[in-house]
């Protein structure tokens, strides 16, 4: 035993075992190409999963699973980890049987039309990178800190390259009454036949009837074979399994714009039709529930986005908002898309409070939670875009706090 122990010590002094003794993969023959016709992540990555937040909803078919932002890089969300929000469960629809109808009552649409997927995919298409964020992202923290990690505080957020035909192309070919048309209703083919009102201005601008996501078809959980992409607007408007577009002259006050996704104000009124996701950012590493390995240098990294345009600047504070430095932005910086930021930090082992603050192309500066509360109270659920604070304790553990 003594001999073995000293042999081990000698080896350690010489260097690391994983270098000195070549591993099996350096001295053997690996697996063939196309072992997996459709590849999977490494088995060592199994911790990165989308997960439900226990207690948030009562049934999993009307629930949310959150994207593990704590472990992601860049701006593209792996489609397998795209957050989910279903109201009546998800389906894997036979795309050859799927139809899209475009119409309107009372001659609002001159030529009501039906499109197959074959038809739609022949039309002139665009490919654009956009974020999608649930209007209720960060909702549990209007009042106090409630959630342990960035997966649950900010994980109803994803960003993908979408491909499809502009809704304006469809509306124009169906001949809408441009004088009377004010709104569009988008309707899904799931059990809830989810419906949402879109303004005609945005419908004629950058809304996409999309089939492609990150180079392939949409995933079933995200609306295969067809969903609406409404850049900058809360996820619930991005109707999945899109089956119908109806043109009209009045907002529809659908269930999810009359009972939910309405913001309760201090005076007891609800704000209705608050679709825009305002400028927001969050540090993803280090973040809540993570532990720093050591003192010293860290590349602090995070995401910034704005439903109103592009990200112009992100500042980061390490002292709870007293002093700020401007972070590096990675390209591409695109409208209504996530932007990745990075900033140098040397941790001296003392407690520190990390915050990020984004500024968008309109000049809007991401607010503090107390500024939001001063106007909107603590009960509005939706559109919580406050600066997030992470406390790094002396033991290196990072936890969720509110500081302002």
């Amino acid at each position: 035993v003594a001999a073995t122990a000293s042999a081990t010590r000698a080896l350690a002094a010489e260097g690391e075992d994983v270098i000195l003794n070549l591993p099996e993969h350096t001295t053997g023959l690996g697996q063939p190409v196309a072992a997996l016709g459709y590849g999977q992540p490494s088995k060592w990555e199994a911790n990165l999963q989308r997960r439900e937040s226990p207690g948030l909803t009562r049934v999993s078919q009307a629930s949310v699973s959150f994207t593990p932002l704590q472990g992601l890089f860049g701006i593209i969300t792996p489609s397998g980890l795209h957050f989910e929000r279903h109201h009546q469960g998800w389906w894997d629809i036979d795309p050859s049987k799927h139809r899209l109808m475009v119409h309107g009552d009372d001659g609002m649409v001159k030529r009501p039309r039906v499109f197959t997927m074959d038809d739609l995919m022949r039309l002139p298409s665009v490919s654009r990178i956009h974020f999608i964020e649930c209007g209720a992202n960060s909702a549990p923290e209007w009042g106090n800190v409630a959630l342990p990690s960035v997966q649950y505080t900010h994980g109803m957020l994803s960003c993908s390259e979408f491909t499809g035909v502009l809704l304006s192309t469809l509306l124009e070919m169906c001949g809408i009454d441009k004088k009377r048309a004010k709104y569009v209703l988008a309707e899904g083919a799931d059990g809830s036949s989810m419906t949402r009102t879109i303004s005609i201005e945005q419908a004629m601008d950058d809304v996409i009837v999309a089939w492609g996501m990150n180079g392939e078809m949409l995933r079933p959980e995200n609306g295969y074979p067809l969903r609406l992409v409404v850049p900058g607007v809360q996820g619930v408007s991005w109707v999945k399994y899109l089956r119908r577009i109806k043109v009209g002259d009045m907002k529809w006050a659908t269930k999810d714009e009359a009972i939910h996704y309405v913001d309760l104000m201090p005076d007891g009124t609800h704000r209705q039709y608050t679709g825009i996701q305002e400028c927001k950012s969050v540090i993803t590493t280090p973040s809540g529930g993570q532990t720093l390995l050591d003192r010293g240098y860290y590349n602090v990294t995070g995401l910034a986005w704005s439903g109103r345009g592009t990200i112009k600047r992100v500042d980061v504070s390490f002292d709870g908002g007293r002093n700020w430095r401007t972070a590096r932005l990675e390209g591409p910086i695109l409208p209504k898309a996530l932007t990745r930021f990075n900033i140098d930090w040397v941790w001296d082992g003392k407690p520190a409070i990390l915050q990020s603050r984004a500024i968008d192309s309109t000049g809007y500066v991401q607010p503090k939670i107390n500024q939001l509360r001063a106007v909107r109270g603590t009960r509005s659920i939706y559109h919580q875009n406050a600066i997030q604070s992470w406390l790094v304790s002396e033991n290196g553990e990072v936890s969720n706090v509110q500081v302002y």
Binding site: V114, D119, A258, G268, H270, Q290
Partner: protein, 226 residues
């Protein structure tokens, strides 16, 4: 202006097809099918097809937030729900407390309920079960028959009918919200102490965060079981 070269792609929708899908009902009742249903019929439908999830009185919090509760006769008169005001201790925000437009309920029940068998109700059943919900909330009497003829009147009794405000800045992309910060960079005014921390019981409520982080990298997940 000439047609685009893709003008002929797709085909005209047939009237029966539009009819089959054109189910939406607007706040001005455009789209509402003619018909009627009594509270009594509604009670039968509710007990057979809804109560298992929503509770006999629409009070259940098991599967979803309660449908009924928290509204008063006074609310029905004012068209504003007092329990939505700050300081209210009412434990839930029920459907009837929030919804301003009766069309929303008709449309939604018709398209989506019962949850596990949506679009199975007949027109009179939708009227009836909505009448039943409204009766539970004291909006209509027990012997009421809701119909396309009187629904606009009932709308005038919705407890929160005056509770909605259209807030344009968050509807328009080119709007400007009501909350904005300034980009102070040095010696900015903040309180030294931490205002809120993660409650101890919440630390482990989402499972062990250690198992939700990568096994390599600049950080590890904290073992939240300890």
């Amino acid at each position: 202006q000439a047609n685009k070269p893709w003008h002929e792609i797709g085909r005209d929708a047939k009237p029966a097809e539009i009819k089959a899908w054109n189910i939406d009902v607007r706040p001005d009742f455009k789209g509402l099918p003619k018909g009627s249903g009594s509270v009594k019929l509604g009670e039968q439908v509710w007990e057979a097809q809804c109560a298992s999830c929503h509770g006999v009185f629409g009070e259940s919090n098991e599967v979803f937030t309660p449908i009924v509760g928290g509204t008063t006769k006074e609310d029905i008169q004012r068209g504003r729900v007092k329990n939505l005001e700050e300081g209210s201790n009412y434990p839930q925000r029920t459907t009837m407390m929030k919804v301003a437009t009766i069309s929303t309920l008709w449309d939604y029940i018709n398209r989506a309920m019962p949850w596990n068998n949506p679009k199975s109700l007949k027109v009179e059943e939708v009227y009836g079960v909505l009448a039943y919900i409204l009766n539970l909330a004291d909006v209509v009497p027990e012997d009421f028959v809701l119909s396309d003829q009187n629904i606009a009147e009932v709308q005038q009794r919705m407890p929160n009918r005056n509770g909605m405000v259209f807030y344009e800045p968050l509807w328009r992309v080119d709007g400007r919200g009501d909350v904005q910060n300034v980009a102070c960079m040095r010696d900015c005014p903040v309180q030294v102490s931490i205002r809120s921390v993660l409650p101890e019981h919440a630390r482990d409520a989402h499972g062990n965060i250690r198992e939700q982080n990568r096994v390599i990298g600049p950080v590890r997940g904290a073992d939240t079981t300890r």
